[in-house]
Symmetry: C2
Subunit: 338 residues, 2 copies
């Protein structure tokens, strides 16, 4: 995993195994992982414990998606030889570290966390926030620090979580012995958030507006044909709008021919290009991008033993590093008795 | 540890290693442990992780008291051959189980817990409650259930904690597969709470009103001579009050001659018995009870390697049982992947 004698910086990223991965994950995360995998010693967490914080009543869903999530990553080019895939629940040190970190954070600080606040509202928990859900910024700090990661790719909306991690780092280092480095968030420059096919909100696993990496050519084409464009653009001859038009948003992200795309946009705005034309172009563009991933997925799914082996070996590596971290932590806290 | 073929019920009890143990612990806990040790497979938790929830800034104090707490127990007759002493921080499964249990409890339920509420007020946390402190009823459920204890000796003020544990048991069993038995609290019949020597509040580790098991004869005698009696009883000839008189409260608990004590009380009430007389009687009674414990303590303190061995072996046993519990839990939750 190490590149000769040069020790690469450790980065941590991960996925909640709660459902199939979609184009939003592909552009927002997977492509960035592929970009980072040569420069960083990248750990990819399969966050089953975190997924359980709001799916405690449906562990079967989590179980089913452990393999799927890993397959999605690898199919997109996240190389298991360059990255360490590991399963959160199988690294008990993360729980251990979470418990110590919980003493360094106040309840009111957790409730104020903007990311948690937003998600509590989204999920409609009201007064019934599961304690585990409220504590997950602390678990997340433990995920990161257990493997001593110092770089975390994160969307803008995740920055408060990194801030919370660094508050814990500072508190721990001040109270005991300096043990952890501060963590740096890297906000990927690639398109941050992809809209859903309905144009109403961002693409979501369970919001019915996603194009999944596992979708067949037929399903992909159907979803594009039903995509939200410009409601005022009724006849091909009508002038059309580009802004808020999901087809053009996707073409901007995926089309490798910016000149051709620019010309198409001009024609569409002037009137004379039907929605079917732009949708067919998008189907072709997406099929070029997703087709190989789909074929990779199918092949990988045939070899689930191989995927399990990758997860097992990665988890072992994460456990070894985490065990050392916990020894350091307990020494710093003076609770290493024998 | 097992008595022939009869499997004893598992009981869990424990101490926070935050300071020297005193007479209140002796009558409230240790004597009860000695009574229970033949009938139960009793686990005695050295609760260092819990102690850290409100002592995160002073781990050295916790460390120093790990051995002391164990010595106090054994010196009082809690037999290491009949009981399993173990250190909380060295059983990582407790943290693991705590994390899963946190998903089964809401934040508002934790904040409403009467024991936590009282302690938050006592400690003057205001809005700055450490998250670990708020979560400790959940950790406590994990302590109990990790070793599959079904009996917990508890003071009246600890009953809400057992209720919380049983709510978690019910939720877990309903959501996944029935895995845990409900837990029964046993409220010891022995004197529940001993007043402090100042008569103002119950005896406390750090409230300056305790007689410690480690106190020398001289210190013991001094503390009794300064004890709160009856402020209206100025001359030996004055009639005295028994109620609220700490010397008589202690004599009621420790004096083995109820007839002689009854006569003394009558004389004291009538007038004609000085405080020095009753205090000298108490000194003798306490010295008879504590003297042997003090000598045991001194001897045990010489053999700290032996104490460490007891803790190490007990911790190994607790780890083995807990590892099995966690395997059962993960099977029930379907998160046993390989």
């Amino acid at each position: 995993m190490e590149n000769g004698t040069i020790k690469r910086k450790i980065a941590l990223t991960g996925d909640r195994p709660t459902g199939k991965m979609h184009l939003g994950h592909y552009v927002g995360s997977f492509k960035n992982r592929v970009k980072m995998q040569d420069d960083y010693d990248q750990f990819i967490l399969v966050a089953d414990v975190q997924a359980l914080t709001d799916n405690a009543d449906n562990p079967a869903k989590i179980r089913a998606n452990i393999l799927e999530t890993t397959i999605d990553n690898i199919a997109c080019g996240v190389d298991p030889h360059k990255n360490t895939f590991f399963i959160q629940s199988m690294v008990p040190e993360i729980a251990d570290l979470t418990i110590y970190f919980l003493n360094l954070v106040t309840v009111s600080r957790l409730i104020r966390n903007p990311t948690v606040k937003d998600e509590v509202n989204q999920k409609g928990y009201g007064q019934n926030i599961p304690a585990g859900f409220m504590c997950y910024p602390v678990s997340q700090a433990a995920d990161i620090l257990c493997v001593k990661a110092c770089v975390v790719p994160a969307g803008e909306d995740q920055l408060p979580m990194i801030e919370q991690t660094n508050e814990i780092v500072d508190k721990f280092n001040a109270l005991y012995t300096a043990t952890f480095p501060r963590v740096k968030a890297i906000v990927p420059r690639i398109a941050a958030r992809l809209s859903g096919t309905d144009g109403k909100s961002k693409m979501g696993k369970s919001t019915g507006n996603a194009i999944f990496l596992a979708d067949s050519s037929k399903v992909l084409a159907e979803k594009v044909m039903n995509m939200y464009t410009d409601p005022a653009h009724i006849h091909a001859t009508d002038p059309g709008h580009i802004e808020g038009n999901v087809v053009f948003e996707y073409l901007d992200v995926f089309d490798n021919d910016p000149k051709g795309l620019g010309e198409l946009k001009e024609k569409y705005k002037a009137g004379g290009v039907g929605d079917v034309v732009i949708k067919k172009r998008l189907i072709e563009v997406l099929e070029n991008e997703i087709g190989p991933i789909r074929r990779n997925r199918e092949e990988l799914a045939q070899n689930s033993d191989q995927i399990l082996k990758i997860l097992k070996e990665g988890t072992e590596r994460a456990c070894n590093i985490s065990a050392k971290t916990l020894r350091d932590v307990k020494t710093a806290m003076q609770i290493n008795y024998f």
